[in-house]
């Protein structure tokens, strides 16, 4: 991935991400998030993470975000009114956020930091493909994989418990 291309994607990502947090309508925020996810998927492809990019679109943008939109629609949420109050609070929040980013940026450029990590050369064969990932997943990551099954089960039970109508 060439630098200009990266910068273009990066810019688009940032704009799109800002859209998530600046749009007043929840639906638009959600749509911005979907676009961010798509852009990220593209970046993943450039990073040789083909399967992950695919999953990003299918699972994330496809399933999870639909769920979000569904709930937004279900609850019939309106746009937030224009923020007038708590300027100070938002300013501090933005400042804190900027500092967080700044710190990581600082980390990559100052002396004695991680600036010199660079990027390694060509990837081995099969890197990022379904087969390779699958093999890794079902051998080395067998345990976490099994845990995710429990995790999802818990989530299902939880969602049901919380969302089902009151019976009594």
């Amino acid at each position: 991935m060439s630098l200009p291309l990266f910068l273009v994607f990066a810019a688009l990502l940032v704009v799109s991400a800002l859209g998530v947090i600046l749009q007043r309508s929840p639906v638009r925020s959600a749509m911005s998030l979907v676009s961010t996810l798509f852009l990220l998927a593209a970046v993943f492809v450039f990073l040789d993470a083909h399967l992950v990019a695919l999953l990003q679109i299918i699972v994330y943008a496809g399933a999870i975000m639909v769920l979000f939109l569904f709930v937004i629609m279900l609850l019939n949420l309106q746009s937030e009114p224009r923020e007038t109050g708590r300027v100070g609070f938002r300013l501090v929040a933005a400042l804190a956020g900027s500092f967080l980013a700044l710190e990581v940026i600082q980390l990559t450029r100052a002396k004695g930091t991680v600036a010199g990590l660079g990027m390694s050369g060509a990837v081995p064969e099969g890197f990022g493909l379904t087969e390779t990932l699958g093999e890794r997943l079902f051998t080395h990551y067998l345990l976490p994989f099994e845990i995710t099954s429990v995790l999802l089960l818990v989530a299902v039970i939880g969602a049901v418990v919380l969302a089902k109508r009151h019976t009594s």
Binding site: V92, A96, Q106, T113
Partner: protein, 645 residues
């Protein structure tokens, strides 16, 4: 004075009155009123008389022993800590023999007298409990073989004094007077204790018993400065106990107690403890002329000072009280000039005549239904002949009329004040003037009380009567003693000379009499007698011949009279300089320092915690985003620390 003979019965002397205390305390209160009174009236004097008996035995034993030998009764080990090994041990040598005889002898008489005097007192058991306890303490004081044990008696008599002064406690003044006595005494005692410690730690290595013989053996190693300090500190104790300047103020107030108490404690025995103590420690005092001089001058000044106050008092007992202070001053003057035996001699004669005076005054008060103001007396000699007679003898004795007891002892003191190497003409002069004043105020008292017209209310006057036998007999005995008591200590050139001094010589061994010329001796004697007679004459003139004169003089003298009449405002001065500031400081310490500063600090810490608690609590707004912000800021700070450190 180093040989001792064991006499394991000496403990009986103090133990008998103590037994009396226990009986009075337990049975006296629990038996019925009548039985209890009867028992107490028997037991209390009985025990003291028994103690007198034992004392006489001890005295006789002592006389039979070679000169300088003392009786010793080591009862049991008392306090032992480190190098300190104190025993409860009693010692009878010449000095304490005199003392125990005086204490038990005069004590017996006063106990007997009390049976009559206190006949109408409902709380008789308590009275005799105290009185017996006092006798016990006084005997411990004079019998003690070591200094701390002496201190036990020393404080014990103070306690009894406190209790007896406040015996009629339902009057606040009485209670206050008792308290004052105790506290002023305590001030002196503090000095005594310090002196004791200083002495102990300077005795050198090795276990110490603080027995007098041991102190005497070691005292010469102590540097002079330290000895002086010890002596002066001890003397502070003596000024408290024996009512000397500047700690005399309690004694006049102490007259609030029953009159026999005044006689026993505040005239005959307790107040002389200071003199006894210095006499006991004579080996220490003689080493330090500075301390001796202080003792002598304080004594002399007190003698004069108290005498002047005595001139203008109207309360019969107050006059006697100031007289006592004054007479005690003479004793200190004596020991201060190194005339220990003279001091003790005066102690003894004073015990006789002053006890007599007090008991006589008590008899008067008894007869006057409790009246003490001389302005309201007069003409009593007709109603109370025995009292008057004995009182008159006592007056002669205290005024120093030759032949009576007081003459011999006072004369000896004045002589030595003049001639001793520690003495000076100035001391003599002060003493002599004091003697004149004494004669004046004592005769003023006599004339006001017994002569002239009765100035009492009709009601009171009607009831004036002579006292019962239990009271008059002791008066007579004491009157006899006030005459003959002095004869054992004749001036050197008279008859058998000073047997008393000779008897005490083993104790005061070093103080061999300097020989003075007979001319000087007679000259001084004559001068002092003349001064005394002059005093009597003036009194006669003022109160018999020209009864209006005193008023006139008092009016003329104005300020001066006020000053004397109000006792130089010393009580007021002490109140303003000592008592009030302490009270104010205390209140300040409590209200401001304790409550505001310290607790303020403590509560301040608590409040700071609470304030912080409140503050942090407010930060817990319930708003998730505030929580998230604090989270984020925390994160930023931590990461920032690692990035930029």
């Amino acid at each position: 004075m180093h040989e001792t003979v064991s006499a394991n019965y000496l403990w009986l002397i103090p133990a008998l009155p103590l037994l009396g205390v226990l009986i009075n305390l337990t049975l006296g209160a629990t038996l019925g009123q009548r039985a209890g009174r009867g028992l107490v009236s028997l037991v209390a004097p009985g025990m003291v008389i028994a103690a007198f008996g034992v004392s006489v035995t001890a005295f006789a034993t002592l006389l039979g022993l070679p000169e300088g030998t003392a009786l010793l009764d080591n009862v049991y080990p008392w306090i032992s800590a480190g190098s300190l090994h104190l025993d409860v041990a009693f010692r009878v040598d010449a000095l304490s023999a005199v003392m125990i005889l005086v204490v038990t002898g005069v004590g017996s008489l006063i106990h007997i007298y009390s049976v009559g005097y206190m006949a109408h007192e409902p709380d008789l058991a308590r009275y005799f409990t105290y009185l017996n306890l006092f006798t016990f303490s006084m005997l411990v004081l004079v019998l003690a073989d070591n200094l701390p044990l002496l201190f036990v008696g020393w404080e014990g008599v103070g306690l009894c004094s406190y209790l007896l002064i406040g015996f009629w406690y339902d009057k606040d003044e009485n209670a206050s007077a008792g308290k004052k006595a105790f506290i002023v005494n305590r001030i002196g005692d503090a000095g005594f204790l310090l002196g004791l410690f200083l002495l102990f730690w300077n005795l050198g290595a090795g276990p110490h018993t603080l027995a007098f013989s041991e102190i005497a053996a070691h005292v010469k190693q102590i540097p002079l400065g330290t000895v002086t300090a010890i002596a002066l500190l001890m003397f502070i104790g003596a000024t408290g106990k024996s009512a000397q300047l500047p700690l005399y103020v309690w004694l006049p107030d102490a007259m609030a107690g029953p009159t026999p108490v005044s006689a026993l404690i505040h005239a005959a025995t307790m107040v002389t403890a200071g003199v006894y103590m210095i006499a006991r420690l004579n080996f220490l005092y003689v080493l330090t002329p500075t301390a001796l001089a202080v003792v002598a001058w304080v004594g002399a000044l007190t003698a004069l000072f108290a005498a002047t106050i005595g001139l203008a008092q109207n309360d019969i007992k107050k006059v006697l009280a100031y007289s006592t202070i004054s007479q005690l001053g003479y004793m200190f003057l004596a020991v201060g000039v190194g005339a220990f035996s003279a001091g003790v001699f005066h102690l003894m004669t004073h015990a006789f005549f002053k006890a007599l005076l007090f008991l006589g005054a008590g008899s008067v008060i008894h007869g006057m239904s409790g009246e003490q103001d001389m302005q309201k007396m007069g003409g009593l000699r007709r109603h109370m002949p025995i009292t008057f007679g004995t009182f008159f003898i006592a007056n002669l004795a205290i005024a120093g009329i030759p032949g009576f007891a007081g003459f011999f002892s006072k004369d000896e003191i004045l002589l030595r004040a003049f001639t001793s190497e520690n003495g000076s003409p100035a001391l003599w002069l002060i003493g002599a003037v004091g003697a004149g004043l004494t004669a004046f105020y004592m005769y003023r008292l006599l004339f006001l009380t017994f002569y002239g017209e009765c100035r009492a209310d009709k009601e009171v006057a009607h009831h004036i009567h002579e006292s019962p036998n239990s009271m008059t007999i002791p008066l007579v005995v004491l009157a006899a003693l006030s005459v003959v008591g002095g004869w054992i200590g004749m001036p050197a050139h008279w008859l058998w000379g000073n047997q008393f001094e000779h008897f005490l010589a083993p104790v005061f061994g070093h103080g061999e009499t300097e020989h003075v010329s007979a001319a000087l001796e007679y000259g001084l004697m004559g001068a002092s007698v003349a001064i005394a007679l002059l005093g009597i004459a003036i009194a006669y003139f003022f109160y018999i011949v020209q009864p209006g004169m005193p008023m006139l003089i008092a009016w003329r003298a104005g300020r001066l009279y006020d000053l004397v009449f109000n006792k130089y405002y010393v009580d007021e001065l002490y109140d303003a300089v000592v008592v009030q500031p302490i009270q104010r400081t205390s209140t300040w310490l409590w209200r401001v320092w304790d409550a505001t500063v310290i607790d303020g600090l403590v509560n301040g810490v608590a409040e700071t915690v609470a304030a912080n608690s409140s503050l942090w609590r407010r930060l817990q707004t319930g708003n998730v985003q505030h929580y998230a912000l604090s989270f984020l800021i925390g994160a930023v700070v931590i990461i920032g620390y690692y990035v930029w450190r």
